[in-house]
């Protein structure tokens, strides 16, 4: 079970409060977590990454264990504490704009 923290706007969109948890089959990669997240909350499709190319939207970032995973390949394995559920995977809306 992977814990995921979503930005406020996406929590509203997905109609959830606080963290969400997703089950990941196989290796817990960034892509696998996002796949599971979008399966559980289809309304999030297209809001974090492109529908077709699955590339990260420019003003979205992925953090975990004080590391920026945003520029890592999608098949990057998540840190151990995230896999164990001790730490969350964070989807962050960049602090920018007016």
């Amino acid at each position: 079970m992977i814990r995921v923290v979503l930005p406020a706007h996406l929590r509203t969109l997905a109609r959830v409060d606080g963290e969400v948890s997703v089950d990941v089959e196989g290796q817990a990669t960034v892509a696998a977590v996002l796949d599971a997240l979008e399966t559980q909350y289809p309304v999030l499709r297209g809001t974090i990454r492109d529908h077709v190319k699955l590339t990260r939207r420019p003003f979205v970032r992925y953090y975990a264990c004080e590391q920026d995973l945003s520029h890592d390949p999608p098949d990057t394995l998540l840190p151990g504490p995230v896999v164990k559920g001790d730490e969350p995977f964070l989807v962050v809306g960049a602090m920018a704009g007016g």
Binding site: P7, H9, L10, L13, V43, R45, G46, T47, I48, H51, V52, R57, F59, V60, G93, A94, G97
Partner: protein, 371 residues
Amino acid sequence: MTGVRVLVGTRKGAFVLESDGKRQSWTVNGPLFGGWELYHLKGSPADPNRLYASQGSGWFGQLIQRSDDGGKTWQAMGNQFTYDGATGTHQWYDGTPHPWEFKRVWHLEPSLSDPDTVYAGVEDAAMFKTTDGGQSWHELPALRNHESGSNWAPGAGGLCLHTIILDPRDERRIVIAISAAGAFRTDDGAKTWRPINRGLKSEGIPNPNAEVGHCVHHIAMHPTRPDVLFMQKHWDVMRSNNGGDSWEEVSGNLPTDFGFAIDVHAHEPETIFVVPIKSDSEHFPPDGKLRVFRSRSGGNEWEPLTKGLPQRDCYVNVLRDAMSVDTLDPCGIYFGTTGGQVYGSADGGESWTPIVRDLPAVLSVEAQVLK
């Protein structure tokens, strides 16, 4: 009891303004989707409680919201707008080829007869359609694949398809407008398109009389006379009596013929409204006076409507989709400003009242009559 609902899209959310048929006292509901850009909201003519909204942000992209109860509750619908087939390129600002790339939905035009069918005008310019109430969208690609498409170039606001007009005689006949490609019409349900820009003259392009390349800002039509179209171009107010086959200028005595919004009186097909704006760069009303200009002769002869509107120190803009009329008698007219005011007139434009003054910048205004 008859009522009016005005759907307002802003830079930071949507608002629903409601009144009874007298249109003197209003309630303001919102913000809905606070913090998101609401480029456009529109109700289905076939079911006024079926509303569609284009919601988006630079962070999280495009969403489509739908309400089945007049805006009380909303549900996010399908938001995948994928171009059909190879996308190719259009011209970028510097004249170089630039790949077609979806950015946002500018305009939603529900079918006149089917609440589940909606057309969407998007940036980069293309037209999409849903027939399942917004769950899925497919492109009508013949427009983007028009032989002139590779030469289309964006206006300052992007390469946006912002105007969709459905012909009430035959919904297969559709007029659209793109900044800065111009107006196009299909007579066969979007299978084929042709530019309808003859008579437009734009000094800012290499050939002022070009078939394609004009910065059309908005087009309006009265439903009883679908062949008569009124256009606010970047410069010039234009009129066509033949469905866009040819245009003539009707700017007449306007103080400036630049502007964005244009609309037609609900009961007087020759009465039209514009809001002249100073340009090319200022984009605020001349002399700090917010004036709606009305022509009762289908153009050329214009009169300023000022009662209730600020006549000094006003430097707001009125964007292309931010004017609408209701079908009550007398006709109601509404427009929103980039300063966050929504003004309404319940007497055909003779006098105006701010319905609400301090919203985020208004992007779109659509009026509905509820019976």
